[in-house]
Symmetry: D2
Subunit: 396 residues, 4 copies
């Protein structure tokens, strides 16, 4: 009693995957940045590139923005930027405050020992909440670089108090219906403590903030060996799962293409997302890519990321859930396990191609992109002309 | 403005460290057990050995019991066992249910797919809650071996539902004033999932159970690189820290002597315990050793463990908290860090010796134990005589 | 220019996978053993079960033995045991000394501080070398439980000297053509040091021993995040790869079914085994399962393990190596990566079934096993009758 | 039979700790750089700052250089730069090639698939070998950023071939008596593979290169849970330990102050360095700091690092080695362990202060630095004036 191919295609077509503006610009490691010829240099080019990914995949109707990197240039308002996106075929998505790049934030932002710095951080959160209201975004995503490098550097408990207090100011400014997604990360850039190191901390902070606050799971932000799908199942059960920042990693947080290092894990995450929902589609939370590409061609990397997410989702949809439940109830360890594994071993590439063609998109978007002369030309044009407006940087 | 030596001694003398009955019996790894000549073979000998550690250190007034390993033998009631302990100079402490050794528990206990197994587990929890009431214990400590080894083996979310439901039955049987301490562990013996893998999960379960449920931190149960003192600070802030199972590890869960692998970490944990309390003593939670010794002489190992806990605590008491707070507020990264480090570098062995002598205990208890002819004789006597009653096993 | 299905089937049919005798007996964790009804109780039943796996898969012509667990019973010689195996349709394989279970080995075997214990260990190595000669085995596999739990417990450097010296005695007793495979393991049962913790240590020891010594890679014996396929490529380049102990793990060493936790990693290992050989078949080293099953039905677990190995191998054989090399030379990061990924996404279940049927084996061996009435009956018979001869235990 | 305080002081005074030029300039994480007021901006200011650390500690007679960051400015030769250093009271030390910052190196340097890039890398190695000869440096330290981010991106084995071949060109250019120190690192900036990921790989490369090649251990470059002191003991035994890059980390490679995250580990490393030498002083290898400071005042951080190294060394010198050896031979697990631990618990701050005063240096160099008006003034002067010559960047 598995889903039919048509049902799987319909489910796939209903899963929007949000693209991160910062994934289209040049990024690197702490050892340097290797710029890509023709990479997006401003918010307009990021929107253009995101729209291209949507045209190729049919799966990415929105683009997440990073503030202040993606502010409309002087003299332009948000409505005009939103209109620009709409012309390109996509919409503006989650608003991501930046609380780490300015010099005042060296020792933290919302947790900083100096109240003046916290005021500045709170004001930025409020500004982002307002932007979300203006552009019709459904989420403000809070990732913090706050933390410490040395035992004793600051008071762990006092920082927690500041965290609750300062985030609450941003929360209070949310338009009804907009969620604050609270992201956690085990380490980096703080190496002794991170003020939101794990899902449990983010969860308790959300409880303090209120019902519009939910936990955001970044798949690259856990300790080695952590069972991420277990966390997903738990947060769904507690009704506090806000969504995902997808990427992959073998070690550290490296923003690799989601599903490139451990595709089985991504499949298991989607298995829980379906299992914790209605058994026929993934839970209605936010699905966002969060990657920054240091050696990969950025548009290609985004297309491949979308394909990897869809591959994992399609396989998870194919699990024979009735048979699985029956084997689980019987305590049949390997009988149950092999049902899951059988779905994973299925080659879903034809199914994905058919789904895309049904939407009028290319069966093999990566191949089309690589052969697209207009795309290549656009890269050369960018190199030869000045950018329209600023904004660079790097995700978390 | 640090504490005086007299104040530190007084604080040390007020920190009771509970000993685990199972740490005195023979234990091993999955590759086998190397029995120690004269190791405790029954609950009486465990009590005798624990009492000896208390006589040597003055720090261990109670012994934790594992049920059914430490049930009084047929024909003896709990009052008689408690009286036996009292004669030896100690009291009965936390009650630890065993939900992993019987054959029915192969696929779990409180989370087992079969309701009959869950009924059995619930009944054992109720039994332990009742024992705690009878013997005047303040805690029932719940550590579960529940988990799965393979993706798909069981339904993660369904198991969580069973966990909440079954633990609630044990919780309902608690005598007022007795706490249920919910322990978490990242892995082992389940290797794909553990039903209580992290503090966040234990925390949400405690919220479901009620105010008498608190989280127990076992220092050996975290992913590599986890900042345990941060968790301690967070749980204190949320008023859900129930206490500790102390031990140490470099990799995996190995029940090594607490403070033997990373003494600095233990110091930092105590720093948070003081910081999250009144700045002059560690928070009033349960401090319990949880070790099982495969190659170490068991009584020696316990004495050394107590010394290591006291060493870390004494150093943390010596931190100049006023100066520290001042440096932290000033954003002086290394100034603050070195204040902590200075306390850590202090040699507190003379202070600990003085504290023990003040209590009429030996200055160097390990040396006394090693030279104690009566102790050596007691080992030989045990070898030569039959044990009084059963009970062996291994902690978590 | 990929291999044809017929070529892939031929390659699959040429990869022998050795079964471990200890994987058929009851095993467990340090928390206990849950015996399986009808699990093998002696060397004969282990051979019978291994032969059944070979009949079902056509891939497992040999069984590894653990000494002394698998010694022929009193009054029987090795020739008779070998003949018993041959009647069943398989041969005796690698000889695995046991240097950890006896009481003398509490502080080590070949590295023990006491020369008398080292003599005993050396004698056992010599005995195993002789057995290998007698039964025509090609390998003596040395895994050591040697290590320490506490800093200072023993002298790291002195232990290394003893290791070289004592292993050399066993090495000297090898029949020409027989290899000594030196296994490494990051931790457990030693938790401070392991005397052979990593491939580098094993490699230097092999250099000291001589050309018949090679490194054995156990896929479950590495630190989190280790790139095992890189080690495989390196050892192949240095001509010191002796073979594998296959299993899987998420955390710690848990002897899970190979390929069950991270099937992509197993594929990548086989990619290097082919790449470091002739590009059309895996390097001619020893492929051995090393698993012990605590909750899985043992014969099922072995069959599934064989299927997982073959799945990974078949997918790796399907990599378009010419196209891959071309993309790599061009510095095309994602073009090269997706070639590998395409092979991985292929559903090779039909190909594996066809390969088995070509050999006269069932297309779906797991299904056949589960429906096999004679198999079920044999389990019941074993329960009802006494075993023929001893031998239990647990792998590394 | 421990060393006397005078002997310990003499040993401390004989351990030179090299300072890294890059540790004095501004550095950061991939999220940005927070510049320090007055941080060194060119090679001259780095030399001035290193000389100040030497004046304060008496322990740092040399400064390591990074090429091309620390090239003498146009019109100045190496002799003049060396003379500048000498005026300041220190000498030029190890030469560190930079093979990661130029655009050609995006996919590697000595392992790059394009031979032209490898030629460039080889030429830089030769240049550095020549510089080492000119300035009288004893070491060329090779750390590579070479690696890949995706399975299949490049051929692991082919890269190894290129690694051996290209490094050999640099090796051939070494002046007699100069060592090539080959550094390894588990990950970063490559996240799928690192071409020199572990000591075993570095060791085999050194064997291929020749006797002047030795392994350099960076204390922050290992997998979680790795026993670094074991590696030190092994490399000493094989006569291939070249030296150290000291720093500390809790997670990832973060270049924290050595000994700040786990001081016990640093002590254990020094214990092996003494144990593998003559039992009375650390092995005569290179001791170099390799840190880059993102939030710490740089000169303070270096002084504190030197103190931490000396603290660990002094404690290790105080181990009662005769008693330890006796307890180890007796198999006395805890007796041996506590001997080590006793040395660690000793407060060596007075001994270090006395040692410094014996050399005419301040007893508390950190305190002196913080109160030094001339130092503060020099920071302000730097801010107000242009730098003399370029050079920025970040260590590995």
């Amino acid at each position: 009693m598995t889903m039919t191919d048509a049902q799987v295609r319909a489910a796939l077509q209903s899963l929007p995957i949000e693209l991160p503006s910062w994934g289209f610009g040049n990024a690197g490691t702490r050892f340097g940045v290797f710029p890509e010829t023709g990479a997006a240099r401003d918010v307009f080019e990021k929107i253009e590139d995101a729209a291209l990914v949507h045209r190729l995949t049919g799966a990415c109707p929105t683009i997440a923005l990073h503030i202040p990197w993606d502010l409309p240039p002087a003299g332009m308002d948000w409505a005009a930027l939103a209109a620009f996106a709409q012309e390109q075929g996509i919409r503006l998505g989650a608003i991501n405050p930046n609380l780490f790049q300015e010099r005042e934030y060296m020792l933290g932002s919302v947790c900083h020992p100096d109240p003046a710095v916290r005021r500045k951080a709170a004001a930025h959160l409020v500004e982002c909440a307002e932007i979300a209201g203006i552009v019709g975004s459904q989420q403000v995503v809070v990732w913090l670089a706050d933390g410490t490098n040395y035992p004793g550097q600051d008071d762990i408990r006092a920082r927690r108090g500041r965290l609750k207090e300062t985030l609450a100011e941003g929360y209070a400014a949310l338009t009804p219906g907009v969620e604050m997604l609270v992201e956690y990360k085990m380490f980096e850039p703080g190496f002794y403590t991170t003020d939101l190191p794990d899902w449990g901390t983010a969860y308790t902070i959300c409880q303090h903030l209120g019902p519009q606050a939910k936990v955001l799971v970044d798949t690259g932000h856990h300790a080695q060996g952590t069972n991420i799908e277990f966390i997903v199942a738990t947060l769904l059960d507690e009704k506090r799962l806000g969504g995902f920042h997808f990427n992959d990693r073998r070690y550290a947080d490296d923003d690799l293409i989601v599903g490139s290092a451990n595709p089985f894990q991504l499949f298991l995450i989607f298995h829980e997302l379906i299992n914790g929902n209605d058994g026929r589609s993934a839970a209605p939370v936010s699905y966002m890519l969060d990657q920054s590409h240091s050696i990969e061609p950025k548009v290609e990397a985004m297309v491949l990321s979308v394909l990897n997410v869809q591959t994992a989702y399609a396989k998870a949809l194919l699990v024979d859930r009735a048979a699985l439940a029956e084997r689980q109830a019987a305590g049949d360890v390997l009988g149950a396990h092999t049902i899951l594994r059988d779905a994973y071993e299925t080659d879903v590439r034809p199914l994905l191609a058919a789904s895309r063609e049904e939407l009028g998109r290319p069966a093999d978007p990566l191949c089309v992109l690589r052969g697209d002369a207009a795309f290549q030309e656009s890269r050369r044009t960018r190199e030869a002309t000045p950018a329209r407006a600023g904004g660079g940087g790097l995700g978390s």
